[in-house]
């Protein structure tokens, strides 16, 4: 069992857990992930590290409530315990020489932040491009501002409720035109990563994406998380989750992500029905 030390709520549906896991905290790197099984009947779900502290022995992950497991996790409080937490898993993000643009979309900002912070800490110049559908869904702004100055932070919202109206590719394109970045890292919904890749490719700037396919074991044993990169099949859990974004088959990733939508709906419905029964 893994104890929840702290629970933070960022918005209606977005939460952060700080989990007691001393060994994991000692070995975690930016870009890696952990897998959670909430309880004995639970499924295994991957979450990227949002933060970790080897001295204090904890790791953090951020999640958005989208289905049964995340809905159930959102009811857990500090002091409760999670059945299983496994990690660190996956390859750490490779941080090449030069200036970086780090793009995070929606809950992907939670994954982008440790990468941006790590890049900054190792002497890179870092631009953060933070995208969200609307102001309330913009995560970790304070954290990003604590490591980067205002000139290096670019915020976009789809509805224009905060920052620049539009999507992340606009500030990315400006940075690329002005030759302010040598590398791009992106993480977020598939369309965002796909169009970021097309934009970076136009300027011959390397771009890596942190992919988020469905996983079961997370250790290279089942192949559920396979993705097509440059015409080759790769297992995101052991070969990734970071890949050259210009080579990813986005349609394939999207189709595989959607493979269990019906079952996910059934599971959530069954869970909500049992919860209602308790409240009655």
């Amino acid at each position: 069992m893994y104890k929840i030390l702290e629970k933070t709520q960022f918005s209606e549906k977005v939460f952060k857990f700080r989990i007691e896991a001393p060994e994991m905290a000692k070995h975690a790197h930016a870009g890696q992930f952990l897998m959670v099984r909430a309880n004995e009947t639970g499924e295994r779900v991957p979450f990227t590290f949002a933060d970790w502290n080897p001295e204090e022995g904890w790791v953090e992950f951020i999640f958005m409530v989208i289905g049964k497991t995340t809905e159930m996790l959102s009811t857990y409080e500090a002091g409760d315990a999670i059945q299983d937490v496994t990690g660190p898993l996956g390859q750490p993000t490779e941080m090449g020489e030069g200036n970086w643009a780090v793009i995070g979309g929606g809950v992907g900002l939670a994954i982008a932040f440790p990468v941006a912070r790590q890049l900054k800490a190792t002497g890179h110049e870092v631009h953060a491009i933070m995208g969200a559908r609307t102001k309330d869904l913009l995560l970790l702004e304070d954290q990003f501002r604590s490591v980067l100055d205002d000139e290096h932070i670019h915020i976009t919202t789809d509805d224009g409720s905060y920052g620049e109206k539009g999507v992340v590719t606009a500030p990315l394109e400006r940075l690329l035109q002005e030759k302010k970045v040598d590398h791009v890292f992106c993480v977020g919904p598939v369309p965002m990563m796909k169009f970021s890749a097309l934009t970076a490719e136009k300027y011959d700037t390397p771009i890596i994406a942190s992919l988020n396919p469905i996983m079961v074991d997370g250790t290279g044993m089942c192949g559920c998380c396979r993705v097509e990169v440059g015409g080759e099949t790769k297992f995101a859990c052991v070969d990734g989750p970071d890949f050259d974004a210009t080579k990813v088959d986005w349609n394939d990733l999207r189709a595989r992500q959607a493979a269990y939508l019906t079952e996910e709906g059934q599971s959530l419905k069954a869970y909500e029905e049992t919860r209602c029964a308790c409240h009655r």
Binding site: E23, E43, G220, Y260
Partner: protein, 465 residues
């Protein structure tokens, strides 16, 4: 016991005792064990068929050389506890091995009775004793020797090694990536062939010997060899297995509802997707399921598909039934349960339906040509003989590769396929690290993996004990 003047006279005319099975139409609907095992009367009758050979070939046929005639003699004498103790001298997992060993290629394959009529049902007799663990004498444990060993992986090889080392007085910790122990015994082999309660009982037995288990521990990521040695471990045994699925490398392989057998089986066996939504992990219940492969994993997958409601479940194999590496018993079980065997086909392409998931597979029909290096006749494509088979779930069970974490554990020599190089004792290029099981040999059997664990434990004991 049939005797003349105090001498045992085997009942050579008796036919081999038939397995005690649930009828196929009943069992194909759920995940309960197919084979209920021998009753006491059945076990004794079968034990009476053993010739009690002076030079028993069966013992040599067993990879861990269990003293088979002696434990069968104990069954005849109805001294079941003594029989179990005899097995335990060689193997701590009789309830598992009695169920999953390919006995026809091992002990039973060389049984002299097999030449006259049918071999003695050694596996069933071993299982009969293994299922009564409470009868065994308390395991003798050597005095603690103050040495610590880390075992990486809790599959059959890791378990066997850990058990031996604990009996030899070592302080043993098993590191397991999953949340529960057993490796392929829990994620791969289905409940209807090996009840998980049996695996749990074997693991609990190790805990009673003082073995510690660290679950959710991916060695190579959360720690590595250097760190384990710094923490005071004197030796490491690597038994991570060969779990990485082999790709077919054909178009459409990544379509939704095309599975590797490992994923399909893990969802059901480990995550209990057959009980969704009571358990959170879903799986796909195909009406038309096709499985490519001819080994035990393919049989497990196709029989699982049948139990999840498949109306048509096909085993498609590029050679013929004769060449299938699966246990004969499992092939027979599968066919009895209504599985269709489609020999001499090889997949060419998976085709997507309108909803984007797999709807059919194009296969190349084959014929058997000249024998290849393995002595088996090589399947060769029949030109132009291509067929399209409808399917809504397709499963690839063509084999696995070395576990990708083996190379991250420590600086040890691997061969070109990523398997660890180890000598007959299981010693690797690092004198403090041993390895065995599938991560050395490639995918093999439970009992061979156990044998490697035992051998390595003996070697570790010799060098450190």
């Amino acid at each position: 016991m049939p005797q003349v003047n105090g001498r045992y006279i085997p009942n050579v005319k008796a036919p081999r005792t038939a397995d005690n099975e649930e009828p196929a139409d009943v069992r194909a609907k759920d995940f309960r064990p197919v084979d209920k095992g021998f009753t006491k009367e059945m076990a004794i009758a079968e034990a009476n068929r053993c010739l009690d050979c002076k030079n028993p070939l069966c013992v040599q046929g067993c990879p861990v050389n269990i003293n088979i005639p002696r434990f069968i003699e104990a069954i005849r004498a109805e001294e079941f506890g003594r029989g179990l103790d005899i097995i335990h001298e060689a193997s701590m997992l009789p309830a598992v091995c009695g169920r999953v060993c390919p006995q026809e290629n091992q002990c039973e394959g060389v049984c002299v009775m097999g030449k006259r009529s049918e071999p003695v049902a050694i596996g069933q007799l071993e299982r009969f004793l293994g299922d009564q663990p409470e009868l065994a004498s308390e395991t003798k444990v050597a005095p603690r020797n103050g040495k610590k060993v880390a075992v990486v992986g809790s599959g059959p090889s890791g378990i066997a090694c850990a058990g031996e080392l604990a009996r030899n007085g070592f302080d043993v910790t098993v590191f397991e990536a999953f949340f529960t122990g057993g490796g392929v015994l829990v994620y791969g082999i289905p409940e209807f062939r090996l009840p998980k309660a049996v695996v749990k009982r074997e693991i609990d037995g190790l805990k009673d010997l003082g073995v510690k288990f660290e679950y959710n521990s991916v060695v190579g990521r959360i720690t590595d060899a250097d760190e384990l040695f710094e923490k005071g471990f004197d030796a490491i045994y690597i038994a991570t297995g060969a779990g990485l699925p082999k790709l077919l490398n054909i178009p459409g392989e990544n379509l939704p509802n095309v599975f590797f057998a490992n994923e399909y089986l893990t969802r059901v066996n480990l995550m209990k997707a057959n009980n969704f939504p009571e358990y959170d992990t879903p799986t796909k219940h195909g009406k038309n399921v096709i499985v490519f492969g001819g080994g035990n994993v393919a049989m497990d997958a196709v029989r699982t598909a049948k139990r999840l409601g498949a109306e048509r479940a096909i085993i498609a194999y590029r050679r013929t039934e004769e060449e299938m590496p699966a246990r004969r018993a499992e092939l027979h079980h599968a066919k009895a349960e209504g599985v269709e065997v489609m020999p001499l086909v090889s997949p060419l392409e998976f085709i997507a339906g309108e909803d984007g998931t797999v709807c059919a597979v194009r296969v190349q029909k084959m014929e058997l040509g000249e024998p290849d290096d393995s002595g088996r006749r090589r399947p060769v494509p029949i030109e132009g003989a291509i067929e399209e088979i409808p399917c809504d779930v397709a499963i690839s069970a063509i084999g696995t590769n070395a576990n990708p974490f083996a190379k991250m554990i420590g600086d040890i020599k691997l061969n070109k396929w990523g398997y660890i190089e180890a000598d007959d004792e299981g010693r690797t290029s690092d004198p403090r690290i041993w390895a065995g099981g599938d991560i050395v040999t490639g995918a093999a059997t439970v009992i061979l993996a156990m044998g490697a664990g035992k051998t390595a434990a003996a070697s570790i004991t010799k060098h450190l004990g």
